[in-house]
């Protein structure tokens, strides 16, 4: 187990290093930060002096090492716009985004597993055929259309659900603003979560169906039938457990990707998360904030991948996390 985490830790370090390198080097290409910091009236000499003072004229490597040293301590520089540490600004928005991803994940699991399994078991039923048809359509609908459709139906026409913001939030443990503990917060979460989930849901249904159909053809499932055990046990233990192995792997990557899709969803629903903030930061050329966002997203990737590997190891006995013989 320790070996697994040590290995994972080094992988994480490498990933973070690459991300930091990338995010740092785009700093140069996003316009002149001085324009944001100082007014038009400042003369060229003064600008030059300021550049020198900020270290903007130093060689790339020197600048990077300075940046990395600070970054390791959680100091990614001050946001030009908020005049506060960029990392702090991002972390304040992290709960909103993570809760959105969490909501979407729950929805995906809740829907894709039963639907995928059912349509694998009964591939000829009208339900399966309808689902397969819809999932093709679903994949090709852009997120913002889904969002607008949902808002129109549930917020405007029916008036059941709010269409923007997070609603009431509760502070837990001092740093986490959660919307999950109040009815109002949960209500606000529904439409954005469904929107975000809608991107991945068709894909997961199809993936689970395809994997399950393949597993149902396997010799060990046939042998299970020959043993005379109940269909329920065959489908939901013998077949499903094997189906989930590849699904977990793909799913982990997709959850990471979903973080990127939050940018769109959060914008449409005015969801006060990192993605929304990121878009604002790009508009304002708030480079420290952009860099901080990229690094935090990178960290989320690393963490989800580690979790996925752990879960995979728990389900699949042939993977040996502990390294025991």
């Amino acid at each position: 187990m320790i070996a697994f985490f040590v290995k994972r830790f080094f992988q994480a370090v490498v990933v973070m290093f690459v991300i930091s390198l990338i995010s740092f080097s785009i700093q140069d290409n996003l316009g002149d930060p001085l324009r944001e910091l100082v007014g038009q009236a400042v003369s060229e000499e003064e600008r030059q002096a300021l550049r020198e003072e900020m270290g903007l004229n130093d060689p790339f490597l020197v600048q990077y090492v300075r940046f990395a040293k600070k970054a390791v301590q959680g100091d990614l520089g001050n946001s030009y716009f908020f005049k506060k540490p960029a990392f702090e600004v991002i972390m304040k928005k992290l709960p909103a985004t993570l809760e959105l991803v969490f909501g979407a994940t729950i929805i995906i699991v809740l829907f894709s597993v039963p639907i995928g399994v059912y349509s694998a078991i009964n591939p000829q039923s009208w339900f399966s055929k309808t689902v397969m048809g819809l999932s093709i359509v679903g994949i090709s609908i852009p997120v913002f259309l889904t969002a607008i459709g949902l808002i129109y139906l549930f917020a405007i026409e029916l008036g059941w659900l709010p269409s923007y913001g997070r609603g009431d939030t509760t502070n837990v443990m001092g740093f986490w603003e959660t919307g999950l503990l109040s009815a109002d917060g949960l209500k606000h979460l529904i439409l954005p979560s469904f929107t975000l989930a809608s991107i991945m849901l068709p894909l997961f249904i199809r993936l689970i169906r395809a994997e399950m159909m393949e597993v149902l053809q396997s010799e060990y499932v046939k042998f299970a039938w020959a043993k005379g055990i109940s269909p329920r046990r065959i489908y939901f233990l013998h077949a499903l457990k094997n189906t989930m192995l590849p699904v977990i792997t793909v799913g982990g990557v997709q959850i990471g990707t979903m973080v990127a899709y939050t940018i769109l969803t959060e914008t449409v629903f005015q969801w006060p998360g990192m993605g929304f903030l990121f878009l604002e930061a790009v508009n304002r050329v708030d480079t420290p904030l952009i860099v901080a966002y990229l690094i935090v997203v990178g960290a989320i990737f690393v963490v989800t991948n580690t979790l996925v590997d752990l879960i995979y190891g728990l389900v699949n006995p042939t993977v040996n996390l502990a390294g025991k013989k």
Binding site: F223, G228, I229, K241, N316
Partner: protein, 330 residues
């Protein structure tokens, strides 16, 4: 009354290109405790026959006509729940490749206990006790350890022993073994075959052994069926069929055995290949490959002729028997 009686069994595969018949007019019986061998070329329909006995054909296969009588039931027309109570309980199966037969994500114990619990109202503790007893019977080293292990922790030979133990769990009346040793190391093959033979003899279990290996058939079975293109073409006591094959195809199989070849010469393979199910010739299916082919062979399907204790589906054999009879009368 025989333990198992298969009558005019016909199996269809509904393919996109049209339905093909993988089994035609298959009839045979099996007595309690009897060991029956099924041989024939690859694609002859041996596995399809094995699976159709417990009505477990994978889609798009189905039994299109005929019966499988077992203890007063017709397995070809039985409700799923009743079939389930017979599968693994009264009739169990052993598959070809032990690497693929066991579920990779469940422990051996789980896979054994679930089978017992599906058919008997006993506690998990009792089920485990029985499972352990069966593991001892199949002579697995340190059986106690195995229940908590996963299939990947065991060798192919051990896995097949476990599959056999699962087959024996409920003391079935019949075991259908579809090439149970083909996937194993040559050195282990004989061991596993011996084990199966002993266990069947000790427990008076009837065995249907599907195999390519005529040597094994002659050692293990008392009666045998020879299949060709979905039909039984010869059946009878194993000794008679092996020592005095009547059907030209069976003779061809015997001559193709390595022991029959003259050292230094090529093996005497039967020329040609078995036709695909869509293109089985009219008359005797074997006629394009038969050296004794006659006009009638291309017109009329041969019916079974009694020859000694065997039944042979061949016009030539039928004619020579006829001649014998006439000769006797004169």
């Amino acid at each position: 009354m025989p333990l198992l009686e298969v009558n005019n069994l016909e199996v269809c595969f509904g393919l996109r290109s049209g339905a093909v018949k993988a089994l035609r007019n298959v009839s045979f019986t099996l007595e309690r405790g009897e060991r029956l061998g099924i041989v024939g070329e690859s694609g002859a329909g041996k596995s399809v026959l094995g699976f159709s006995i417990i009505n477990l054909l994978s889609r798009p296969g189905r039994i299109s006509s005929g019966n499988v009588h077992f203890e007063g039931y017709d397995l070809a027309h039985l409700a799923p729940e009743e079939l389930r109570s017979i599968r693994g309980n009264r009739i169990s199966m052993i598959f070809q490749d032990p690497m693929m037969t066991l579920n990779p994500v469940l422990t051996i114990g789980t896979q054994m206990v679930e089978c017992l619990l599906a058919h008997r109202k006993i506690s998990v503790v009792d089920a485990k006790r029985i499972a352990l007893k069966k593991l001892q019977q199949v002579q697995i080293p340190s059986p106690e350890k195995r229940l908590d292990q996963y299939p990947h922790e065991l060798s192919g030979g051990m896995r097949q022993r476990i599959v056999i133990a699962i087959g024996l769990l409920l003391d079935p009346d019949i075991i259908i073994a579809d090439e149970p040793t083909t996937a194993l190391d040559v050195t282990i093959q004989a061991e596993i075959m011996d084990l199966m033979l002993n266990l069947c003899e000790q427990n008076n279990v009837a065995l249907i052994l599907i195999t390519h290996d005529l040597g094994v058939v002659s050692q293990v079975t008392q009666r045998m069926l020879v299949m060709y293109a979905g039909r039984i073409i010869e059946q009878g006591p194993t000794k008679e069929v092996i020592n005095d094959a009547q059907h030209p195809y069976t003779q061809g199989l015997m001559n193709a055995l390595p022991q029959m070849a003259i050292p230094g010469q090529k093996l005497n393979q039967i020329k040609g290949t078995m036709p695909p199910l869509q293109r089985i010739p009219k008359g005797c299916s074997f006629n394009p490959r038969c050296e004794y082919v006659m006009d009638i062979c291309e017109q009329k399907l041969p019916s079974f002729t009694e020859s000694g204790n065997c039944q042979v589906a061949c016009h030539m054999v039928a004619e020579s028997k006829q001649d014998e009879l006439l000769g006797n009368e004169v």
